[in-house]
């Protein structure tokens, strides 16, 4: 604050004098420079998308620096949905995200209850085994899974159902991949609910599972929300299985990965639409980050600092 008012007076030499007297001011100035630098680097790419999206496609040639829109063409944001069914890709992504989140929250709640509130032999190693899953490269799973979901694996003469091009071929691997983090977050939250509340619920007439869903889960709402938000964002962002488990058509449950790539593949010159599609695709997660940033921060750090 002090730095701002001083520099706004424009008395640079006076500022230098006072800076020598109190190094705090130099640190403060350095801090603002660094902060603005980071704001610029993180946000500039989005600005670049906006410049491209608003510039009519035929006007897109080499931009100077700083780039400014070469014309004003908001129609791109409409054409995004007409050139390819981008809304269907987005809808598919939402369905996959919500379905995976639901599966993960239910299964991770059961496991979180077990790891957070029960003692049993093999608890530690089992938790490690589950957490290890999320560290393996998807590439190490893909070949057998691809063959499984395309009906090429048979057990006792029954071949596996053909799940390729269905939501299941993605929801299943997503759930397995992102569940360990949710299990970890939920077991931390569930473990903090006092035993007395669970006992009280059981005395009052719930079963152990009833106590989980009627008392422990509602009381851990922030943790459940954190796990849910992180799972949804992870699914929405996922590339590997989203790319490989469908043939890429919107009506085959292909998510936004394919929506974006279809511009790159089929409409190689429509740079304004690529940019506009990217902006539309980012909006849902950007909103989620603004709304749920505390949850994201706490979830990510809790997940990482477990060791």
């Amino acid at each position: 604050m002090a730095t701002e008012s001083d520099s706004s007076q424009g008395a640079f030499s006076r500022w230098v004098d006072s800076a020598i007297e109190s190094p705090e001011k130099v640190y403060r100035a350095m801090f603002y420079v660094v902060m603005l630098f980071f704001l610029f680097t993180t946000l500039f790419p989005f600005y670049w998308l906006l410049v491209l999206a608003l510039t009519p496609n035929e006007a897109i040639t080499s931009f100077g620096f700083p780039p400014v829109p070469n014309g004003f063409n908001p129609e791109a944001f409409v054409n995004v949905f007409t050139t390819v069914p981008f809304h269907v890709y987005m809808f598919n992504s939402f369905v996959l995200g919500i379905a995976t989140t639901a599966v993960v929250l239910v299964l991770a709640s059961l496991a979180g209850y077990v790891f957070g509130r029960l003692d049993f032999p093999g608890k530690g190693p089992l938790m490690l085994l589950i957490l290890a899953v999320s560290y393996f490269p998807p590439a190490a799973f893909i070949i057998p899974l691809f063959r499984l979901f395309t009906g090429n694996i048979s057990l006792l003469g029954v071949s596996s159902p053909n799940l390729f091009n269905t939501p299941f071929s993605m929801v299943l691997p997503f759930s397995a991949l992102f569940m360990p983090l949710s299990i970890f977050i939920l077991s931390t939250f569930y473990g903090q609910i006092p035993d007395g509340l669970e006992d009280a619920a059981r005395i009052e007439g719930t079963t152990r599972l009833g106590a989980l869903f009627r008392v422990i889960m509602p009381l851990s709402a922030p943790g459940v929300a954190t796990a849910g938000v992180l799972t949804f964002i992870s699914v929405y962002n996922e590339f590997f299985f989203s790319f490989l488990m469908t043939s890429g058509e919107a009506n085959n449950w292909a998510p936004i990965v394919w929506g974006i790539l279809s511009y790159q593949g089929q409409y190689t010159q429509l740079y304004n639409l690529m940019a506009a599609a990217s902006i539309v695709g980012v909006l849902p997660v950007a909103i989620l980050v603004v709304v749920a940033q505390e949850k994201i921060v706490s979830g990510l750090t809790a997940g990482a600092l477990k060791e």
Partner: protein, 327 residues
């Protein structure tokens, strides 16, 4: 009175339901624990553990390029030997390991990418964490701005950098070329592409580093800084002697996670430059089994990738244990 009252209500439910509930309620803690874990373990078994073992098994069989069967005869570790000695390279789209063309062979590409991206992410993430650790107005919004790239889907991240470095449109390519840094078509030049991919990865994932390091910074007992000040330490000395050693464990944890992430890089490459230009290990797995149907080889590459990550994880854990005991 009370019992009969509550009793009647229970008997309205079917006998099977009541006896199932009774059975579950009377399980001991370990039995109940394993019952609740069953669905999770089934899912993970089907989607993770079985594929992992199956991949390993496949990697012990020869490729079968003709005919309908996926695999040829059992060859033991031959696939691994052929990959590591370079014998198999001729059959692959890009070589697995060829030190003479480090930007064209999968193993070296992956290692170069991992090394540089994790290094710069750590530096940038640390700097961002230090900024977010300050108290200033609008901190919430700066934090949002820094987190947003982390939440951007990989495909859109790729698209952004594809558009930034497209020679026809990008404002960056011409100047970079004039300064002699980039070639005229950076997106088909392996070295230029590698640099672009590293910048893209740093842009997206530094935020993750920053948040974890920030959590480490904020867990440092503030009174330690008072002790430092009283002892006459300058800001820089305080940072070097108090902050750095105390956040080192969280930095290592963040680096571990990012290393794991970087080593499985695939989607970004696929979107920005394509697997032909920058063939990472995951790229090689996909191209070999999808394009060439070389299941044995592909599985061997996949398993080597997993093994490599396992190796890195162990190194970090040992290192982490050192800082914990050393501190």
């Amino acid at each position: 009175m009370a019992t009969t009252d509550e009793g009647i209500r229970d008997s309205e439910r079917s006998g099977a339901y009541v006896s199932a509930v009774r059975w579950m309620e009377n399980l001991s803690d370990p039995q109940f624990a394993y019952l609740l874990l069953t669905p999770v373990l089934l899912l993970l078994g089907l989607i993770a553990f079985w594929p992992l073992l199956s991949t390993f098994r496949m990697s012990l069989f020869a490729d079968n390029l003709v005919g309908s069967a996926a695999l040829g005869e059992f060859v033991g570790l031959e696939n691994y030997v052929a990959l590591l000695t370079g014998e198999r390279d001729a059959l692959l789209v890009r070589p697995f390991l060829d030190p003479s063309t480090p930007f064209r062979s999968a193993l070296t590409v992956t290692l170069i990418f991992t090394l540089f991206s994790v290094f710069f992410e750590t530096v940038v993430g640390f700097a961002q964490a230090l900024v977010l650790d300050q108290d200033f107005r609008g901190r919430r919004w700066v934090r949002v701005a820094i987190i947003i790239p982390w939440a951007v889907p990989i495909v859109i991240q790729g698209m952004i950098f594809f558009l930034l470095f497209q020679p026809n449109i990008g404002f960056l390519v011409d100047p970079l070329q004039n300064w002699g840094i980039f070639s005229a078509t950076p997106l088909s030049n392996p070295v230029d592409s590698m640099i672009i991919l590293i910048v893209a990865d740093v842009w997206k994932t530094s935020a993750f580093m920053a948040l974890i390091i920030l959590a480490g910074l904020q867990s440092v007992d503030r009174s330690l800084y008072d002790v430092g000040r009283v002892a006459g330490a300058s800001k820089y000395q305080q940072f070097k002697m108090i902050t750095l050693p105390l956040v080192l464990p969280s930095v290592l944890v963040a680096m571990l996670f990012r290393t794991i992430g970087a080593m499985r890089i695939y989607g970004l490459i696929e979107t920005v430059v394509g697997c032909n230009t920058v063939p990472s290990l995951s790229c090689l797995v996909v191209t070999t089994f999808r394009g060439s149907r070389m299941y044995g080889t592909s599985a061997a590459v996949a398993f080597i990738t997993a093994g490599l990550i396992g190796l890195v994880v162990s190194v970090y854990i040992v290192k982490y244990a050192d800082t914990e005991t050393g501190a």
